[in-house]
Structure formats: C-alpha cells, structure tokens
C-alpha cells in the first residue's frame, strides 16, 4: 500500500485542498495550486475530493508503485510515462505492482501537474490537512518536498476505483494550460492608494511571470505601477490571489503559501475560478488582467462546479459499461453499477 520515490523531480509535494481555520493565527492555507485539477483527478480514481495527491513541478518525479492502483494525472502535461511508455494526462491509468511512473518534463504545456492515486496519499494529517507547507516545515512528507527513498503510504481505494481505467476527461472539462491568459480580477481594497495612471497601467499592460515565482507568490515583471503617495498601509489580511504592489511598483500575485497578513496595497484580487490558470504558468509566460464583478466571479465558480459534476456523470457512465469485473467480486460480498431508467446506481452487498 505504498509508492516509493526513486527520484523526486524539481519540486514535488503532498497537497490536498488546504489547511483552513488557522489563518487568524498566521497559518497559510497551502494546498494544491489548482484545486479543480486535484478534485477532478480524485473523482476519476474514486477518491473523496479532499484526498491528498502529489503536486509536481516542471520536471516530475520517478515513482515505483508497490501496489496496484488507478492513477489520474491532471493539470498541465509534463510528459508522463509508465515503464518508459508515453501515457496521456487526464485519463484513468492502471498501474500494477512494480510499475514505474516517470515524467519527461514540461514541454510548454504547463508547469505543474497533480498525480491522484486511488485511496489517496495517507501521510498523517497536521491540523486537519495533509498539505505540505514548505516554509513552516509541516504537513505532507515531514513538511518538505519529496526526496529519493521516501515511501508514500496509500489509503485503501474505493471499490469502484479500478473501473475508472481508460476513462478520458473530455478536453472541454480540463483545466488547460494557456500561454497568455487574461486573468479576471476584482478591484482590490487598496486600489485608491494607487495613482490613477498606475491602475490604468495595470489593466492595460502585459506582465511576465518572473523567475523567482513560487508557491508563495508570483513576482511579475513589466511596467512599474506608481502609488499615489506612500506604499505603506496598516497591515491587513492577504488572501490567495491578492495582487500586492510593493514600493518598487512591480505587482506580486500571492499564492497558496503566502503570508496571511501583509502591509502592501492590494490593487486587485484574482477570482477563484482563474487561480487554476495561474497555477500552470511557467516563468517567462505573459499574462494580463481584466476587471470583473463579484457576480461574474460567482458565475465562473458555478461553471467550474458544473464541470466537476459533468465529469462525475460521465465517469459513472464509463464505470457501468459492460466489462469483465468477475475478479473484483469476492464470494461473500460484492459491488456493481446498475443502469436503470437512465440513472446509474452503485450497489454493494454483503452476506450477513
């Protein structure tokens, strides 16, 4: 019930949906940089949406599977391979005991992927989450990035997990990598501290993701944004997605591992539905910003939620297709999917 790390890749960490409830104490949320990709992958392999997976960056890890598991790799395409044979992303893949999952690396199709494994990664939860918070050194695999020789414990997979083998998430339901995205933002609480021409500059310019961008924040390069007067303000809360403008006038997008409070004016805040687009950007990629209203942001969240539901329905259909499942059904208990009147039912039974 484990996976062995043969080589860790550039930056691979255990992440779930994040550690909530402690931001008031200064604890960042951490968690997968693209929640949608993690949730979609978890759906495909039959996990709870909150199960932990691996977030991998640019060059992926090499993993030896010590147990048979369904795996789904979502997010960007880092050229995954099973036993050196190319395999697709966003698809249910069965790995047998002894199989090796490796990656060829990023080829301009996104910088990050999420590896979801049937049963989830079962490292001990810390403060209610398995997410790795690197700077604080807690959660996931001893609070650090994976290293060679780590053994990742796995949970028990769902009865139906293996039936997701071969399931392909349709292209329109994926979080796809876009090279030059237009990111939707809500005007920020300190927009008034920025000079009007600074605000104009922010919305009309293209910015480039700087090389020193990480899970804490993306430092952007491009035209300098001027403040009205001083860039100082009384520190207040900083959510994931907030775009701060420090004294040098170059915006920083705060990401999942960011400090919970900060003292730089926030010119804007990225809407939740567009955080996934950011998560897959590579240093050197360009992006620009467009104002939107809270109502539009809520519509975008609703649409993403709808996409997850679509995946759930398509997966149930895929799982119910006739296949030889005999070896999955032991004598004393069993499980099957029944299609009846257009509805699909999960049926399990046990002899008592």
């Amino acid at each position: 019930m484990s996976v062995e790390v043969i080589s860790p890749g550039m930056l691979s960490t255990v992440q779930d949906l994040g550690r909530y409830g402690f931001q008031a104490f200064g604890m960042p949320v951490a968690g997968a940089l693209d929640r949608y990709s993690l949730m979609a992958g978890n759906l495909v392999v039959g996990n709870d949406l909150r199960a932990a997976g691996l977030e991998i960056t640019i060059s992926g890890p090499e993993l030896l599977f010590r147990s048979e598991r369904l795996v789904c790799i979502t997010g960007g395409d880092l050229s995954p391979k099973i036993n050196d044979r190319d395999v697709p992303v966003w698809q249910g893949l069965m790995l047998r005991e002894g199989d090796v999952l490796s990656f060829g690396g990023a080829r301009n199709r996104g910088s990050r992927s999420w590896i979801c494994i049937g049963g989830g990664i079962d490292t001990p939860p810390v403060m209610g989450s398995r997410s790795t918070y690197l700077r604080g050194g807690l959660g996931g695999c001893d609070g650090r990035r994976l290293k060679r020789g780590d053994i990742l414990p796995l949970g028990a997979p769902d009865n139906f997990s293996r039936r997701g083998e071969g399931f392909i998430v349709p292209h329109e339901l994926r979080q796809n990598y876009i090279g030059r995205p237009v990111i939707r933002v809500i005007p920020g609480p300190q927009e008034a501290l920025i000079a009007p021409e600074g605000v104009e500059c922010f919305y009309s310019s293209s910015y480039r993701v700087g090389p020193d961008s990480d899970r804490m924040g993306y430092r952007l390069q491009g035209p300098v944004i001027r403040h009205k007067e001083s860039p100082d303000m009384i520190s207040d809360a900083v959510p994931w997605g907030a775009i701060q403008v420090p004294g040098n006038g170059l915006p920083i997008i705060m990401m999942a591992d960011c400090q919970t409070t900060g003292g730089y004016p926030k010119i804007a805040g990225v809407i939740n539905a567009d955080l996934g687009l950011l998560s897959m950007m590579l240093p050197g990629d360009y992006l620009s910003f467009r104002r939107c209203a809270v109502t539009e942001a809520a519509d975008a969240s609703r649409a993403l939620k709808g996409d997850l539901e679509r995946i759930r329905v398509l997966l149930a259909d895929h799982r119910s297709r006739p296949k030889d499942h005999s070896r999955e059904i032991p004598a004393d208990d069993g499980a099957m999917l029944l299609k009846f009147g257009g509805e699909t039912f999960d049926v399990t039974w046990r002899i008592i």
Partner: protein, 258 residues
C-alpha cells in the same frame, strides 16, 4: 458610504438603505467600509488607525459572525482595523454574504466590546536568552533593570497574528524602549525569543531569521501543531511579560509549573 468595489450591488443603490443605518463611529461616517478582496474574501474596515477600540470592534464582529453557523463561512482573520471574512469560493451566495456582514458590522459597533483575556508570559531577560539587552541599553540610555521593568510592567494588546504561524503583533510598548532593528539580521533566532524592533515588541513563535533586538526568551511553546489547540495566543488577547530567573527556564519548559 463607499460602494463595494466589484460588489454585487456596485452599480445599483440596492444597499443604500442598509448602509445608511447610522454609524456609531462618531465623526467617522465613512466607516465601517466593506471591500471585496478577490471574490472569496470580504473585508470590513472599522478605521485606518491602530487603536484598541477599533481593534475590539473587529473582534466583536468576528465573534458575532463565528457564532452563527453560516454555511458559506470558511474562516475569519482579524487584523488591526479590519476583519476579513473568507467565504467558500464554490458557494455562490455572494449577495447574502454582503447583506449578513453589513448588518452584523453595524450591530458590532453598538454592542459593548468583549473584554480581553490576559495571558502571562514568563520571560528570562538578558544573558544567553537576551543577547541584545545591552544593545537596547546603549541605544536607550536605560539600565538593563529599567528596561526589564518597563517591558514587563505594560499590558500589551495582541492586535493580530501573522508574519509566521503564531506571531503576535503587539501594541502598547513604552516609547522609551524604542530601538532600531539590527543592521545585520541574525540567520536564526530561537523559538520563544522576545524582541524589540522600532516601536514594536513581539515574540518569535518558531525558529526564524530576523533583525529584532532579542532581550529575552520565554519557555512557553507558542505554536505546536501536534497540540489539540496548536496556538497559545490569539488576536484580541492581552499579554503581560513576567520576568523569571534563568534557572526557571528548563523547569517551565518541562512543564513543572508556570
């Protein structure tokens, strides 16, 4: 009242009747202000100064909101003069969020402020635990005993937590203790270190680099993720530093009494 940037009602007057409900913040009709920070965090500002009264309004609103069992509420973050209300980004009832927060914020002003809990923090001043006590003494012209007396005689309000997990932003230090940061920050300051930086005093909850003048150390563990309540302190509390002799450090650390 300023319209909420990006608000659900930003381009209508739908909130006018709610927002004109009479502010108790005398002479400051522009507060409270409600500002979205992204689409999943609504900030209520009670002012733009560091002030215990404003900070208790923040705490008052937080207690009210937390008590309601609101389905869309994820968590709240109180800061010096504002409360951030984090909502479930997948829950799309933003209008309900605005109306709830706006009406509660108005009530929070009228109600009496919650009285702060007081925590006593034992501190071993000077010596190995406080290598910069002498530096503060040279800068302020005060003897070490006077510094310890001034530092431990005040009640400090925890205005907010942030910077690193469990770090309290304290207010109320005696201005005579003001000392600039070290020009050459230390690469590692032990957990529990008590320091002075400019007008501020604080405690390092976890080992971290930093440029504060370290004048002492507490044996109390401010942050332990394995504890049922990982954090010892929280925003809105008041703390008092209690000088203890160096011999007591290990004793308190090992739990033989505080």
């Amino acid at each position: 009242m300023t319209a909420l940037p990006g608000s659900v009602g930003a381009d209508s007057n739908r909130f006018d009747n709610v927002l004109k409900g009479g502010s108790d913040l005398e002479g400051r009709p522009e507060y409270p202000r409600f500002l979205w920070c992204g689409d999943a965090c609504l900030v209520t500002e009670f002012g733009d100064t560091i002030d215990p009264l404003i900070n208790s309004m923040v705490k008052g609103l937080e207690l009210k909101i937390r008590g309601l069992g609101l389905p869309w509420l994820v968590e709240t973050v109180p800061t010096y003069r504002s409360l951030a209300v984090y909502v479930d980004p997948w829950d799309t009832r933003r209008e309900e969020v605005e109306l709830t927060v706006i009406s509660l914020a108005r009530e929070a002003e009228a109600k009496s402020m919650p009285s702060a809990a007081i925590a006593e923090i034992p501190v071993c001043y000077g010596g190995n635990f406080g290598p910069d006590l002498e530096r503060v003494s040279i800068h302020t012209g005060l003897g070490p005993d006077v510094i310890i007396r001034l530092h431990s005689s005040k009640l400090y309000r925890i205005y907010m937590m942030g910077f690193t997990p469990g770090f309290p932003y304290l207010g109320g230090m005696d201005p005579r203790l003001e000392t600039p940061r070290l020009e050459d920050p230390r690469t590692l300051i032990p957990a529990g270190s008590v320091g002075i930086a400019g007008k501020q005093t604080g405690i390092y909850p976890i080992p971290s680099p930093g440029g504060w003048n370290i004048i002492g150390r507490t044996p109390l563990v401010l942050f332990d993720p394995a504890r049922p309540s990982p954090f010892l302190l929280e925003a809105g509390m008041e703390i008092r530093f209690v000088p203890v002799p160096e011999e007591r450090f290990e004793e308190i650390l090992s739990g033989k009494g505080a």
